[in-house]
């Protein structure tokens, strides 16, 4: 179980790094879908190995939502956007380097969980990897120049935290799990509404144009 969960979390992290490197939008959405498949597989694996049928259900729900519904909403949001983000010609080297530093930071922060504690769940070695995915997602959201990039960053962040919750607890109580799913869905739908309106108002999704409110 340790080996399987660490492997899958590692793959998810690798996909996140690719996502930082990719500049094109469609590529990013595709990578997001790939990452979601990996995390759904993680839920299924844990569900089978730890004999938690609820986790299998969670994994299936996760797959439906994050590889099908949310990407559909994202593509709808992206309609009419340039394929590449607003500021072209930026090198991807620096962000990838920063993402690498965040992986180290994730290990440092999660030391109380993955390190010295002798007991603990067998999946604990994978927890810093999941947290790193979350941190890199947050980094993407903060540094994005357009609203779509911010939304993708947020979704990657959210994926990382889902993996963290999975690895740390083998599934939260059903109501919390359902709540968390619904929230992500509603956030994305609300985002779509707001993004569509931003495009209508500003003719662009460049967040630098959002500068009405100061002081």
């Amino acid at each position: 179980m340790t080996r399987a969960s660490t492997f899958l979390a590692f793959v998810a992290l690798g996909i996140t790094l690719l996502l930082v490197w990719r500049q094109s939008w469609r590529g990013r959405v595709r990578l997001y879908v790939a990452q979601s498949w990996v995390l759904a597989a993680l839920a299924l694996t844990l569900g089978i190995l730890a004999r938690r049928p609820a986790l299998v259900v969670v994994g299936i729900g996760f797959a439906v939502m994050k590889t099908w519904i949310i990407p559909a909403v994202l593509r709808r949001m992206a309609r009419g956007s340039p394929v590449r983000p607003v500021s072209p010609g930026r090198s991807a080297g620096l962000p990838v380097l920063a993402a690498g530093a965040l992986v180290v930071a994730a290990y440092a922060v999660m030391l109380p969980i993955s390190g010295a504690v002798a007991s603990g769940v067998p999946t604990r070695t994978a927890i810093p990897l999941a947290f790193a995915v979350g941190l890199i997602g947050l980094f993407l959201a903060v540094t994005a120049r357009d609203a779509l990039g911010q939304v993708i960053g947020f979704l990657v962040f959210e994926n990382g935290l889902f993996a963290l919750a999975l690895l740390a607890t083998y599934g939260l109580p059903g109501i919390v799990e359902v709540g968390a799913f619904l929230e992500v869905l509603v956030v994305v739908l609300l985002m779509e509404g707001v993004v569509v309106q931003i495009r209508r108002e500003h003719d662009s999704l460049d967040v630098d144009r959002l500068r009405e409110l100061r002081g």
Partner: protein
Amino acid sequence: MIAVLLAIPLAGAGLLAGIRGRLATALHAATVMATLAIGLAVAVTAARGTEGVALDGFLRVDALSGWMIAVIVSVAALAGAEAPRYAGDGAHRAFYPLLHLMVFTMLLAVSTDDVGVMWVAVEGTTLASVFLVNADRTRASLEAAYKYLLICSVGIAIAFCGTVLVYYAEVLRQQTAIEPAPHALRWTGLVAVAPSLSPRVLALAFVFVVVGYGTKAGLAPMHTWLPDAHSEAPAPVSALMSGVLLSVGVYAIARFKPVVDVAAGPGLATRILLALGLLSLAVAAVFLWTPSNYKRMLAYSSVEHMGLVALGLGFGGVLGVSGALLHVANHGLAKSTLFLLAGRIRAAYGSADIGSVRGLVTTLPFSGRAFVVALFALLGLPPFGLFVSEVMIFAAGFGHGYAWFSAAALALVVIGFAGLLRAGHRMLLGVNAGAAPARPAWPGAIPIVAALAALVLTGIAWPPGLDDALALAAKAVVP
């Protein structure tokens, strides 16, 4: 009773989604009144020391929850009384339903005993209020709503991370413990097992919880969404957001604090809360000196007051915590009153710029005077309640050995005080050229006068039982 309290705003929201016109206003009024009556009844029962339990322990109202419920339903009644001026057609059609949905999520957050469900409810407050922030559909309100949704969603996800770590600590404990595992993570259960939770995991969890829920509470440096959202939202929404929604974030932190104090030692939570509290005071002091827009000014004042509440929780002891809780109530009443009046001022002058408001009292005889009185209350002048709660918080600070720290905080409060006073002064003075004097309508005065009277009560004439209720509520935070 508790289940009914939650069912009313939820049912009201559902029904109002399908109703228009005068019937909607009547139903809205009925929902507001029923929520207020039952909420206060639940709060009084809890304050007398009887814990209310419903739905198999899923809902549990102790004195702390009861206190929060009282504040929520009172501010909701104030905002609800003003709401008919704002609800209408077009983008405002969803106004009533979303308003009641927001009240429902806040009530659920403070009355559930389940750690995870509290998180779901707090996230729900954001989702319910995003479109309310953008109700005016201007560029500025759109930008505010976008920032609000993005920043608070990130914040709440960080709080989720903290919640997961608390679950993890419980999983670790169950591996070594003999007693059977509880089905879900309840506050009551968590407080009971706190001594055997892993201190390092809990410490890490608390950092996430404070950053996450602190974002919702508007504590600096996570406050950046707050001035935008609170200034762009329609007045009743600003009143609810500033008056209680911020405090619901603080409540979430307060619930985690006793668990962390026992598991990881008392120093950690105190240090974090004091640092964030002082930073909030500092940020607010700077921005209160440079306001251009009076709604933004009120929003920055909320950052300041949430900082004070965080200080009260950080200083700890029954005195500090009850000071913080009393401050939550006082600030809720004063700030929501001010936001509602700011909405009327904006309607009269057509602008939220401080520079465009002149001769406030001659233009709006009632609302202008009430604005000044409420501003004095907000500044913490006697005979209003904020004076008492601020004295309690600082007395706890000086009494518990944080003399230098308290002195610094007090200095920042004074700086903010002066800035707020200066801006209020500018609005009062001068002669209004444009707007014609408005005739005051007495029904609109009732809720404002009631709120100010309540502030005088908490200032100079505590109703019997208030001190016991406060002490009992504080006991939930001070183990």
